[in-house]
Symmetry: C2
Subunit: 255 residues, 2 copies
C-alpha cells in the first residue's frame, strides 16, 4: 500500500475526532451517536467507529443512557494547558484576595483570536449574575476584560474586531467602532477598562491588564459588581493591584 494515503488518512482521523470532541457545547454537554453524527456531518458508521476509539482512549465517556460526554482523562490532560489552568494557578490566590475583600464576581480572561476566553471565575452565591462561563468564549467589545485585551491587541486584530458587526447586549452596549476606538485609547492611558451596563443592565465591571515578563498583556482580571453601587474609579486601584500581583508572580513562575 502506498504510504501517502495512509498519512492523509491518519490526519483525517484526528481531524474528525477533534470535530467530535468540539461538538460538545454548554447547552449540549451530553449527546447520542445520532446527535453527534448530525452535528459533525459524519456518516453514522464513521461516527460510531471514531466514538468507540475516543471512549477507549478515555477522551470521551458514555453514561448509563448511552449518551456521550467529555471524559475525565481529557480534562486531566487539559489541566496542563499553560493558558488555562497554568495561568489560573498563579492567579487564584490574588483572585481570592479580591473576592475576600468584595464578595463580588472576580474573573480572569485571555484573548484567543477575536474573542475572549474566561479561564477562571470566583463568585459568591449573592454576587450579581453574569453571562460568562469558565471555559466559555465571549466577544471582546462589551466586557471590561475584553476591552483590556483588545486595547493591547495588535492593530490588525483591533481592526478586524471593529470592522465586524458588533453584538448589542443591552440598550447601552456601545457598538460604534469610532466610539470603541476612543474607549480603547482610554484603556491604554488609564490602565484599566470599565464596562457599565454593557452586557447586562444590572452589572458594571472594571478590568486591568496582566503582563508577561516581556511586558506583553497575556490576560486580564476583572471585578463585576451591581451597577450603581460603586464608581469605577474607586474599584480600579483594587483590581490593578491584584493584576500587578499576578504579573509579578508570573515573572517569578517563568524563571
Amino acid at each position: 500500500m502506498d504510504p501517502a494515503p495512509r498519512r492523509s488518512e491518519s490526519g483525517l482521523a484526528i481531524r474528525r475526532a477533534t470535530h467530535l470532541l468540539a461538538a460538545f457545547t454548554p447547552d449540549r454537554p451530553a449527546m447520542s451517536l445520532t446527535q453527534l453524527a448530525q452535528r459533525t456531518g459524519l456518516p453514522l458508521t464513521t461516527a460510531h467507529r471514531l466514538l468507540g476509539v475516543l471512549v477507549d482512549c478515555g477522551l470521551l465517556e458514555r453514561d448509563e443512557d448511552g449518551l456521550f460526554h467529555v471524559g475525565l482523562r481529557l480534562w486531566e490532560i487539559a489541566s496542563l494547558a499553560p493558558r488555562g489552568l497554568g495561568l489560573r494557578e498563579v492567579a487564584l490566590p490574588f483572585m481570592e484576595d479580591l473576592y475576600a475583600v468584595t464578595h463580588e464576581n472576580v474573573q480572569l480572561g485571555i484573548r484567543d483570536g477575536l474573542e475572549s476566553v474566561f479561564v477562571e471565575r470566583i463568585a459568591g452565591r449573592t454576587a450579581v449574575p453574569v453571562l460568562t462561563r469558565v471555559g466559555g468564549r465571549f466577544p471582546l467589545h462589551p466586557t471590561g476584560i475584553g476591552r483590556v485585551l483588545l486595547a493591547h491587541a495588535p492593530v490588525d486584530v483591533q481592526d478586524e474586531v471593529l470592522a465586524a458587526p458588533l453584538q448589542s447586549f443591552t440598550p447601552r452596549t456601545i457598538t460604534d467602532p469610532a466610539a470603541l476606538r476612543r474607549i480603547l485609547s482610554d484603556v491604554r492611558s488609564h490602565g484599566y477598562a470599565v464596562n457599565d451596563r454593557q452586557v447586562t443592565m444590572d452589572s458594571l465591571s472594571v478590568a486591568a491588564p496582566i503582563h508577561a515578563t516581556d511586558g506583553s498583556v497575556v490576560a486580564a482580571l476583572s471585578i463585576v459588581v451591581p451597577a450603581g453601587i460603586a464608581h469605577p474609579a474607586a474599584l480600579a486601584p483594587m483590581v490593578q493591584t491584584a493584576a500587578r500581583g499576578i504579573s509579578r508572580s508570573l515573572r517569578q513562575f517563568a524563571k
Copy 2:
C-alpha cells in the same frame, strides 16, 4: 484499497494522538518534538506528522522556542467534562463559603479507578502547603478525600486498592490493610474521614461525601488545616454542611 486497514489505521492515528497528548505531565508541561517522540516511543517522522495535525486542530500549541504544550482549545472542550468543571461549577460557591470562614485549603476530589483526581482547590496564600494539584492524581488511602471515596467505592475496588503496596508519605501514614479497613468502616458510620499527618507532617484534613440524586457518592469535599490547631470532630460539621449543600445543588442541577 481495502477499507479494513483504513479503519484500523484511523483508530491507530487517534490512539497515537492520545499518547502524544497524555505525554505532558506537571513536570513536563512543554516538550520538543524529540522529547515527545522519546516519551511516546513513536518514530520521529510519525510524531512530527501527528504533532502537526494536533497543532492544526488547536489541541496542542507551539511556543516561540518550538516547544509543544497543551492548547487552549483542548482546555475549552475539557471544560465541558461533567466530572471536571461541571461538578466544580456547582461546588465552587459552597467551597467559597468554607474558605471565607476558615481561610484554609478547601479541596474537591473524585475517584477514577484506584486513584483520586482533584478537580478543584481553593487556597489562601497563607494556608498550609499541600501535595495535591488541580487535575492531578493521588492515591486513595492517605487523604481525607481518598478515604471518603474509597469507603463508598464498590467492594472489589476496596479490595484491589488494599491488596496493592500502599505508599507511605510520613512516619504516620497507615499502610496496614486491616487498619485501613477499620478506618473505612468508621468513615461510613461517622459520615466523614480524617487524615491526621498522613500526607505531610504539618497537615490534617477532614472530608465529607457528596451524593448524587441516586444516593451514590460522586465526589468528596475536604478542608486541610495545619496539624494540631483543631480537633477533627470540630471541623467535621462545617465540611459536612458544605458537602450536603453541594449534594442538594447537584440534585437541582440534574432536574
